[in-house]
């Protein structure tokens, strides 16, 4: 029990410790403005990480998340700008594109029984190529205001909060509810934990997996909308960093890469840890190379903790 608690609370404590540390290093860190910037920087990865958490809970991994998001962003902006499609329709088309990619991932994993790592490595490249071809590798500018609404801020107690950050928090709330309070959510855990056992108990494991990859696609579509809102353009090269950052956030949050263990809210904590380190080190004037170094150490620490707690759990601690 103690190991499990460490797995859940550890990342949260690490986040608090990191905040306290940076607060002593920079006067600007704990200001409302700066924290709102952190939230804004984290929201795209944060929403991708929801989908990524679902996939990782089933003992899979989705390497294509960032590339698929970039495709969604290009579809939205291109349809809105060049074809003057109404904004809601353009958004719907973008989300439909990312969801279709999720469905392709899911079908390849369930029907052809290919390993998720390889499937999504393939779709990462395919989505990237389609994005480049469809956009002629050009950034799409003059995006209608409707597509960037979520990048606007409102004032709370003298500091500004971006609407997109609210959307992210709302999505986390929905995902956390569905995973912990519905049968479908528990089945995601069961499939990741013991796929054969889950099948024998009568769970339609293939449907669960397909659903997970498609929902992940929906998350990437919504993340695309946030990305467009934040940058104000449709960028065919977006998402390349997010491919791995989303996995980093999930793993740093403490969700097990072996499936069946973890919480979606932990991924928000994971994304915030990475975001806080970036932001804090920047404020301290530390070069971005060191930020990468720190991120790398965090990932290894997180996976080591996961392995350790798994081993303790398997020993059947009393």
């Amino acid at each position: 029990m103690r190991a499990r608690l460490l797995g859940t609370l550890g990342p949260l404590l690490a986040l608090i410790a990191a905040c306290l540390f940076f607060a002593t290093r920079s006067d600007r860190f704990l200001t409302a403005d700066n924290l709102s910037i952190v939230l804004q920087q984290v929201m795209v990865v944060g929403v991708i990480a929801i989908g990524q958490t679902l996939v990782i809970l089933t003992a899979g991994v989705d390497l294509s998340c960032g590339s698929v998001m970039a495709l969604g962003g290009i579809v939205m902006t291109k349809l809105a700008v060049e074809h003057q499609l109404p904004v809601p329709l353009a958004i719907a088309a973008g989300v439909a594109a990312t969801t279709s990619f999720g469905a392709i991932n899911g079908l390849l994993v369930t029907r052809l029984r290919l390993p998720p790592f390889i499937v999504t490595l393939g779709t990462l490249n395919i989505a990237f190529a389609i994005t480049q071809l469809y956009s002629n590798a050009q950034t799409i500018t003059d995006v209608p205001a409707g597509l960037t609404t979520l990048g606007n801020a409102f004032q709370v107690g003298g500091s500004s909060v971006v609407y997109g950050a609210l959307l992210m928090l709302a999505l986390y709330a929905v995902a956390a509810f569905a995973l912990s309070q519905t049968a479908a959510g528990r089945h995601v855990y069961a499939v990741g934990n013991n796929p054969e056992g889950a099948r024998l108990t009568g769970i339609a494991t293939q449907r669960v997996l397909l659903g997970v990859y498609m929902l992940a696609g929906v998350c990437y579509g919504l993340a695309a909308l946030l990305s467009v809102a934040r940058t104000g353009v449709g960028d065919p090269n977006a998402g390349q960093a997010e491919n791995l950052e989303a996995i980093t956030a999930v793993v740093v949050g403490g969700t097990s890469l072996f499936g069946g263990r973890g919480l979606v809210l932990s991924s928000l904590v994971g994304a915030l840890i990475v975001g806080v380190f970036r932001n804090g080190l920047t404020l301290m004037g530390v070069s971005s190379v060191y930020q990468m170094l720190v991120t790398g150490v965090l990932v290894i620490l997180a996976v080591a903790t996961d392995q350790f707690s798994r081993r303790v759990a398997e020993r059947g601690e009393k």
């Binding site: 509810f177 309070q181 069961a190 759990a313």
Partner: protein, 257 residues
């Protein structure tokens, strides 16, 4: 003997390529009895069980549940007919709690808007029902909310047995439920099997552990070369005679009927 038959099979034949796994075997299971199945490797025990649980479709022969002819095409058909199978590989999700495992795949939802629209689970009712149920079966655990992986092997198997017994309406088929368990843990599971029978279910117990079979079974089905060669009463037949029948060294006609 006019005991009611809950599950019956007549003349079941199953070939795999040119191998005959079942060569016209019969099978009968009475209401509220524990039927042990013994047989050497290759006697057709597991094919018979798979046929009865819907995992294998026989080439010929008839199966009856409560006297009605049935055709199982998939395990879900057998399950719908009230037959649950506990497979050798533990069908539990170790990271989930005992309650969640007991209700896995058949969760209870809240009533009204929360359940119908938000599809919210009724955790309180599931906890209450599983606590009462586990107490009835005499499986003592510290907390129903603890993860199954924190349990001992015997307790884990207990959860798996309880799970299948909870959802079976007629029959629970158990494939080697005491394998890989220590003496104490094995006895715990045997006690549990008796309680499952005492609740009115019929149990089919496949085991290589002869003392276990003789300890709990009401009757013993001896499989040999794809047929049922004898139905023995463990109170009247010795373990060594049963083994002799099983290996073909003894003609079952020579035994007390």
């Amino acid at each position: 003997m006019t005991a009611r038959m809950v599950l019956e099979a007549k003349g079941i034949v199953k070939h795999f390529g040119h191998i005959t796994a079942l060569d016209g075997t019969d099978f009968e299971l009475r209401a509220s009895e524990i039927l042990g199945i013994i047989g050497d490797n290759g006697a057709g025990k597991s094919t018979l069980i798979k046929t009865l649980s819907g995992a294998v479709v026989p080439d010929r022969g008839e199966i009856f549940v409560d006297g009605e002819r049935v055709h199982f095409r998939a395990p879900s058909d057998a399950r719908r007919a009230g037959i649950e199978t506990l497979y050798q590989e533990l069908a539990v999700a170790p990271a989930l709690s005992i309650v969640e495992n007991l209700f896995l795949g058949r969760e209870l939802r809240r009533s009204g808007f929360l359940g119908n629209v938000l599809r919210m689970l009724d955790r309180r009712r599931m906890l209450a029902e599983s606590t009462a149920y586990m107490q009835e079966l005499g499986i003592g655990v510290r907390s129903m909310k603890q993860a199954v992986e924190t349990l001992s092997g015997g307790q884990r198997q207990g959860v798996a047995v309880a799970r299948s017994a909870a959802f079976a309406r007629h029959v629970v088929i158990m494939d080697e439920p005491t394998a890989a368990l220590g003496v104490k843990e094995g006895n715990l599971v045997l006690d549990l099997i008796r309680r499952v029978r005492d609740r009115g279910l019929s149990v089919v117990l496949i085991s290589h552990n002869m003392p276990h079979v003789f300890e709990v079974a009401d009757r013993i089905h001896v499989a040999r070369l794809g047929r049922r060669v004898a139905l023995l009463d463990p109170k009247r037949v010795s373990m060594s005679d049963a083994v002799a029948v099983m290996t073909g060294a003894l003609n079952p006609g020579q035994l007390p009927a």
